[in-house]
């Protein structure tokens, strides 16, 4: 087909968490510009399976609609590749040129150990959420809608923070592998709403403590996380996390 491209891939291959990994060269021919980045990997894996010489490349993916946060490739030195505000599944091959060499690596962080090839274990995020990223409500009949007045600005900001899909691109982009943008989005979405208020102090204290325990780095405010975030979570959330944390430490009974 005309307009199709040949792509040179350098893909991180690693058998499991204990073995040493290395970059392996693959040539993928006849790539359509309309393919997504993951579909190109499907084509390559199809070939690897039919050739039977090499195991297919393990990579995470689920919805392929840019909303689940499962895909996690570090492409040419940037999480989710060169485009802004998209996940890897929404990155298309038209963003590259014929003959390009593309380096694909897994997220790199002590808190995100490699499971195999490009798949990493992001359970650290789940443990942070379990430590405080929730509200406790009684079950039973649903409350009347709009019974709690919420300022439109706050509702909008909470919604923007809640857009975080927990993919971990912030950690991957950060030179310190810091999880501040993720944690700040999760703290913010609840701190901005009345439903989150009763547990606000314990929430922020527990989530920060869990974040530190998991071995994420500290925040240098480089802004790389927000620049690479597929949901464009704002750095103002990190400032809010700092405020929430110091207010809880200095101004509440808890620590």
């Amino acid at each position: 087909m005309s307009g199709n491209m040949n792509i040179n891939l350098k893909v991180w291959r690693q058998k499991n968490g204990k073995s040493q990994g290395k970059l392996v060269d693959y040539k993928v021919e006849g790539v359509s510009p309309d393919m997504s980045f993951l579909e190109m990997f499907d084509v390559l894996n199809d070939r690897l399976v039919s050739e039977g010489k090499d195991e297919p490349i393990a990579f995470d993916h689920d919805c392929r609609e840019g909303i689940c946060g499962m895909c996690s490739m570090y492409i040419n030195g940037r999480p989710h590749g060169p485009n802004q505000g998209v996940t890897t599944c929404q990155l298309h091959m038209r963003s590259f040129k014929d003959g390009d060499t593309i380096v694909v690596e897994p997220w790199r962080a002590a808190a995100f150990p490699v499971i195999k090839d490009l798949a990493v274990n992001r359970s650290a995020f789940d443990r942070i959420i379990a430590s405080g990223g929730f509200i406790s409500v009684n079950t039973g009949n649903a409350q009347d809608a709009n019974s709690l007045p919420i300022a439109k600005d706050n509702a909008d900001e909470a919604f923007a923070a809640a857009a975080c899909i927990g993919c971990g691109a912030c950690v991957a982009a950060c030179k310190n592998s810091s999880a501040m943008l993720f944690v700040s989005a999760k703290v913010s979405q609840l701190a901005l709403l009345p439903q989150g208020d009763p547990e606000r102090n314990t929430r922020v204290l527990n989530m920060v403590a869990q974040m530190d325990t998991e071995g994420f780095g500290a925040c240098t405010n480089t802004g790389a996380c927000s620049a690479e975030c597929p949901k464009e979570i704002s750095l103002t959330n990190i400032a809010r996390l700092n405020r929430e944390y110091f207010a809880a430490q200095l101004g509440s009974d808890r620590s």
Partner: protein, 258 residues
Amino acid sequence: MNWITKMFSSSLGQKLIMALTGLFLCSFLIIHMVGNLQLFKHDAGLAFNKYAVFMTTNPLIKTTSYLLYAAILFHAFKGIALVFQNKKARPVKYQAFDGKANSHWSSRNMGVLGTIILVFVVVHMSNFWAEYKFGHVPYTRYTENIQTGEIQSDYMPADFTMNSKMEEQSEGLMKVTIVKDLFRSVELGFKELWLVALYIIAMAALSFHLYHGFKSAFQTMGLNHKKYNGAINFIGIGVFAILIPIGFAAMPLYFFIK
């Protein structure tokens, strides 16, 4: 663990220490700049030497200066510790890393820039501060005509000493001041090319360090607000990344060329 140690040992609390000490050091830079502008006065260094006496004898300033030394050490060593701690969070490095695509160079190199500044502070303090405090700085006698404002300066013999750093007395229209001549140490010191070069490199590092550091400190303290961000950016870039480093770099250059 008590809540204060818990707070300051968390990753957020450690950054708060960096922010608070950093901003304290920024406030010092302004005082240091304003005071040292007296180096440019055409009075053979009289005003600057008097200022040096005031800065080293006033009890309030002396107390603040010990706080300042503690802040420098705290900021430097906490910063170095954080760099290594943060490196541990990524044991396996990326083969391809495109930092410039998503962040400013200075924000990714605060540790390196800070180290250059620390080396500079050590050289700077051993040249002037330690020399003034522990070494032998010769005295100069200034004779000032109160009516005309004319100043005549005479170097005292190199082995001349007195009990105080400065003595003043009036003889009719003449005001005589004998004072430790730090100005002369500055004048002589900045004839050395390597020293001037070190100062200029260090001030470039300071510029990049504060370009990121000043606004970053406010973000760490939780202040990221559209009403104030404009002012923080303006002061951070205009004053701390441009005016202050240029002003400080001008001093050694002025004496080198003079």
